[in-house]
Amino acid sequence: MQPKMVINHLEFYYTKKQALFDLCLEVPENKILALIGPAGSGITTALRALNRLYELTPGARAAGEVLLDGKNIHDGDVSVTRLRRRVGMVFDVPTPLPMSIIDNVTYGPRLQGSAKKSKKALAALAEQALTQATLWDEVKDRLNTPAMSLSGGQQQRLCIARVLALRPEVILLDRPCSGLDPISTAKIEDSLTKLKQEFTIVIAPHNVQQAGRVADRVAFLLSGRLIEEGRTAEVFANPRDERTSDYITGRFG
């Protein structure tokens, strides 16, 4: 099967400092790809390069290709807002906007001016997204309460639902469980394995174990360079590179 996204010789700079070096990576469709590596390896940078969110950072600059369905996302005729709807993102800390639960979930769809959706359609969309994020049962009776009143784990699932409501093709998750308790983490991991049937997922797990639990493939980055990439089970059982095995077995990072 053709990969959903392809990263081709991506070089990335923050002003003068280079963060990614000649990164080449394929994102397989309907799979979960985990980017692992110690802090400062360029993983967040790589994720933000996939939906061009890095453009918000002053001085950030990318060279090389990032293909989505074979089309370079940096091409002049690519609408960046449309790209970001196709490639959704969940952040490392839960980031509900200061509005009600339902308004949070429908924030993305409501922005699409061309397809002004009826209240009913939006409600249906929200229910579907919240259900997929395994949050519906917990919030269905208080959709109009402020999102800030939810617990941390619920907030993060709300953020996932908010992305799902866009019906994206790819979902990027940047350490989505880093601040959460084990039960919330398990819930999110559960929903991820279900979601991959419909979506392509790239996750930066907050530890190696999570990569082992959810990912089909892992890519190990170190200091902005791809060290190795492969099926999770293979990489974990027989890492080809010594640094990979050191990292997986917890000798550093």
Binding site: L53, M99, P146
Partner: protein, 279 residues
Amino acid sequence: MKQAHFREKIARVVIWAAALLVMAVLGAVVVYILYKGLPMLSWEFLTQIPRDMGRAGGISSTIVGTLLLTLVAVAIAIPFGIGTAFYLAEYTRENIVTRIIRFSAESLAGIPSIVYGLFGFIFFVIMLKLRWNILSGALTMAFMILPTMIRTAEEAIRAVPQSYREVSFSLGGTKWQTIARAVFPSALRGIANGVILSVGRCIAETAAVMLTAGSALRMPASLLSPTRTMAVHFYMLATEGISMPNAYGTAALLVILIFLINVVANMLVNRFVGKKESR
């Protein structure tokens, strides 16, 4: 150890005393004004125009003049002040130009109101031949509150967490959508505080308004009519010894007006923001 506790006690006494002193002094001002002025406030006082230089009659024309002048000044300053703040905070990266704008806004915010009065008097009243009227006064006040409005609004916009913007962009929001739907509602409270502050300054200003809006006691017929605001009226009544009771009544009404504006504005903001925000 004992000494430390002794000092703790002394410090507590001093600090409590300072706070009570502040309350007592400030309370004395307000209570005195209200004590002397409240009995003056009658329906006639509020609804009749001043007669005999303000010795008799009410102060209705000065109330209307104050409100009109304030309204026009704030209406002029709001779009420019808030628009500039959004431009500075959202549309430019830090560079020499933004720094110059910010520096001049901060400097001009501290310039004495009398200097604005001087400027408004020569520029609007004399050079542009607008004469003394509500429009001249309002334009002068708009210039005066603009720097404060830019500063407070920009601070409020910058205080909005960056994550709100990232979320909105990551969900496919355009810049305008992000500003209008994610940033603005969160910054509204701070922006509103700046506006309230400006309204208060317009109502309270005396020197600059006297120089530009005139001191006519007639009921203003249009924005081109000269007027006398309540603060100016109070100043004239009090310093020229025209009518102490009427001066107290005007001052009391000013205090009440400012109090009401604070309360109402806080309520409005709470109502609007409270619905969307939990905290």
